[in-house]
């Protein structure tokens, strides 16, 4: 039943998504847990971490993980697979978000909008971003390496600037405030009563379902769909062509891989993913803010790829979970530490936390004067430090660590 791990007798077998029965069954269990995670079910919710993540307030970060994972998958196609490093991913996300708000938002005195249903604005956002990607790519395809990174970085600044022009404000709203956007409800057309109400609490069959749970399920379905698309792109002709271009572009062209066409395609597809993710990002935060799509977000995606492991489909997913969740964990831990009394954690609390005045490095006061930083600031520092440490210590990322562990046990007792 288990077969031999690395024995493939047919090519089709080797490029399968899940080649072995072990992987298939583990994947099925994982999927079941993911879908049942938000509900308080007897067996599932007794798995420790699962109960924790499925808890009401943790559903929101989980939703954010899934939204950003879509964009990370897109960037992985461009940077991890085709080797074109882009710092402009946040720009394409912003384009997608603006397109979504333009199509799906309501029009007002100072804003443009068409109030179209989700099945138009969601693909529309992706297609608009893809179109912009295609427009940009003639410049981008000519550039290599760091030149490309810097030009795409320029896109981010251009995007934020245009979000602040007189016509940009009609789409993205006033600069510091942003524009409200509620649109996850699924409608057939512009009717009052939505077909499926994702925005509010509801009742399905004989269960009560909260809005957070609905949003989680909706995003989970979209993310799985996009992950399958990404995986299929990777393991078929297109993916092999992109990898050939990444590894030796001239050799690839000599072997009959049209470089320009595939690079253009990589840009378009990765922008499509980014646009979709941007639209969902705006819908999830119920607000579009042009300055959200800045350099920091772009760097976050690069960090996601590096920490997760570029060039794999699982890498960006693990990376997004890690990059989004670690700051949340640190925050929650600090909050919990504040109330800790006595014992080891009490001593730790005394040592680390401060409200100014006494010794400590994390400032929990609302105002943080002087040299101590708040948890939020420490999280940003931690983020920067994680990038540096991962690159120096484990360039293959979390996925690389997993592969090493797996290989160790695969060869056990002869592993060395």
């Amino acid at each position: 039943m288990f077969g031999r791990p690395n024995l493939y007798t047919a090519y089709r077998q080797e490029i399968r998504m899940l080649p072995t029965w072990t992987q298939r069954s583990l994947f099925a269990v994982f999927m079941a847990v993911l879908f049942l995670l938000p509900f308080d079910l007897p067996v599932i919710s007794h798995i420790p971490v699962v109960r924790f993540l499925g808890d009401g307030e943790w559903l929101r970060p989980m939703a954010l993980v899934m939204v950003l994972a879509i964009a990370a998958l897109g960037l992985n196609l461009l940077s991890g697979l085709a080797g074109q490093v882009s710092l402009g991913h946040a720009f394409f996300m912003g384009v997608g978000a603006c397109a979504a708000v333009y199509l799906g938002g309501s029009s007002g005195e100072t804003t443009w909008g068409h109030s179209l249903p989700i099945w138009i604005w969601l693909p529309g956002a992706g297609l608009t971003a893809a179109l912009v990607g295609v427009i940009v790519s003639p410049v981008a395809v000519r550039l290599r390496g760091l030149y490309l990174a810097i030009v795409t970085l320029g896109l981010v600044f251009l995007g934020i600037h245009f979000g602040n022009t007189s016509w940009g404000r009609r789409i993205a709203g006033p600069p510091a405030l942003g524009r409200e956007f509620q649109g996850l409800d699924i409608r057939l057309w512009k009717e009052e009563k939505p077909l499926i109400n994702v925005g509010g609490d509801g009742h399905w069959l004989w269960f009560d379902v909260s809005d957070g749970q609905k949003r989680y399920l909706f995003l989970l379905v979209v993310t799985i769909l996009m992950a399958v698309v990404a995986k299929n792109l990777t393991r078929t002709r297109t993916g092999r062509a992109l990898q050939a271009i990444r590894d030796r572009d001239i050799a690839a062209e000599v072997m009959g891989v049209p470089e320009f066409r595939y690079k253009l395609m990589a840009f378009a597809v990765s922008s499509f993913f980014a646009g979709l993710s941007g639209a969902l990002f705006a819908a999830l935060s119920q607000r579009l803010l042009a300055t959200d799509f800045g350099l920091f977000l772009s760097v976050e995606f690069i960090a996601i790829l590096l920490i997760g492991g570029a060039g794999t489909t699982a890498g960006p997913l693990i990376g997004t979970f890690f990059v989004v969740m670690v700051p949340q964990f640190v925050e929650a831990f600090t909050e919990w530490l504040e109330d800790a009394e006595g014992g080891l954690f009490g001593a730790l609390s005394e040592l680390v936390l401060t409200e100014g005045g006494d010794f400590g490095i994390i400032n929990t006061a609302i105002q943080t004067p002087g040299w101590t930083l708040s948890v939020f600031d420490w999280n940003i520092v931690l983020f920067g430090a994680l990038i540096v440490v991962f690159l120096i210590v484990e360039p293959l990322g979390l996925f690389g660590i997993w592969v090493r562990i797996r290989n160790y046990w695969k060869r056990w007792p002869f592993s060395y």
């Binding site: 600044f157 920067g384 430090a385």
Partner: protein, 358 residues
């Protein structure tokens, strides 16, 4: 018929952008001549302003180029280093303390004219900036010798984020004045004011470029060029690659700090003090680096000046016609210039095209 065929044989992709550029430059020259005839005072003021801005960009760009030539990677933390250097000057000159301590700065009690002690403070601040550059290089860049170049660039991005947090939140840079002796003063030509800071930026940039010119001809400079050419071969010839890295980072940090000091003065900013915007000067100067070519010092100078001229002249003369570009549109002019430039020369004006092997 034959002539038409021959015309088609010329690769249109090479000639169309060149013709476009020639047209653009020609139109700009005609426009400049008309404006010069109209109002010479305004034109001169704009010119000096653009040269001041261009020199500031060129200084920052030179820092990028020095680090790129030695380590083959773009230092994205340049902006944070610029802000840090300017902060050190603010600590020394305005707070009057040695940074991170409450010991009062001995330079300020030396006596003598104000500009002299300020100049000494600048030198000490630059030394601090160089030390920061050395520490960063030793801790984060040296372990990465031999790793993919992009990884190193991303490490500098991580450093930029960390530095910014410390600058913005721990030090809380809210308009810390630098105590620049010439303030926002200047001299008048006709009835147009030309700031001293424009002149200072030009003189500093000229000095920096002359220094780098001679440095590249010194023993160490030759070692640096050897490392830039082929790291392994240089190592085999007995060049200490680590020392070259260290010197490049120290010099890059110093140039960044100088650029940071000028980034608080007109024409870049009017505040004469360090704030959260100061760190953005590096991202504003990036188009200059790319336009000139990442590995060319003369490219940095030319790129900086071109970008500065484009930004200031567009801000001065095009204001009425481009309202759809929004307020503050001069800030995006460098990026547009960069993209046009890259369409024509993908490696910048003086950059070395990468030789690719199958």
């Amino acid at each position: 018929m034959a002539a038409a065929l021959r015309l088609e044989a010329v690769d249109p992709r090479r000639n169309a952008p060149l013709a476009f550029l020639t047209g653009l430059v020609g139109a700009a020259l005609v426009f400049g001549a008309v404006q010069l005839a109209n109002d010479p005072g305004l034109f001169l003021q704009t010119f000096m302003k653009s040269m001041g801005l261009g020199s500031t960009y060129a200084l920052i760009a030179l820092g990028f180029v020095l680090i790129f030539k030695a380590t083959q990677t773009v230092n994205f933390a340049q902006g944070a280093l610029a802000a840090t250097g300017a902060l050190f000057l603010s600590f020394l000159a305005t707070d009057g303390n040695i940074p991170f301590t409450s010991v009062s700065n001995p330079i300020n009690s030396l006596g003598g004219p104000g500009w002299m002690s300020w100049g000494l403070n600048v030198i000490v601040a630059l030394a601090f900036a160089a030390a920061v550059g050395l520490v960063v290089e030793r801790l984060a860049i040296r372990p990465m010798i031999g790793e993919p170049l992009f990884s190193v660039a991303v490490i500098t991005l991580g450093l930029e984020i960390m530095f910014r947090v410390f600058n913005n939140d721990a030090v809380e840079v809210e308009f810390r004045p630098l105590g620049v002796p010439w303030l926002a003063n200047g001299f008048k030509v006709g009835d147009r004011l030309i700031n001293w800071s424009f002149i200072a930026a030009m003189v500093t940039a000229a000095a920096a470029f002359v220094a780098v010119y001679f440095f590249y001809r010194s023993r160490l400079g030759i070692a640096m060029r050897a490392v830039a050419f082929d790291q392994e071969a240089a190592m085999a010839q007995g060049v200490s690659v680590g020392r070259v890295f260290a010197i490049a980072w120290a010099a890059g940090a110093v140039l960044a700090a100088v650029g940071g000091i000028f980034a608080t003065q007109p024409p870049v900013a009017q505040t004469l003090s360090v704030d959260q915007e100061t760190a953005n000067i590096a991202f504003r100067a990036l188009p200059a680096v790319i336009l000139g070519g990442l590995d060319s010092a003369s490219g940095a100078l030319l790129g900086g000046l071109i970008v500065g001229v484009a930004e200031i002249y567009a801000g001065q003369y095009a204001a009425g016609n481009v309202s759809w570009l929004g307020a503050g549109y001069p800030l995006i002019v460098p990026y547009i210039v960069m993209i046009i430039g890259l369409l024509i020369r993908p490696y910048g004006l003086f950059g070395t095209p990468e030789i690719r092997r199958v």
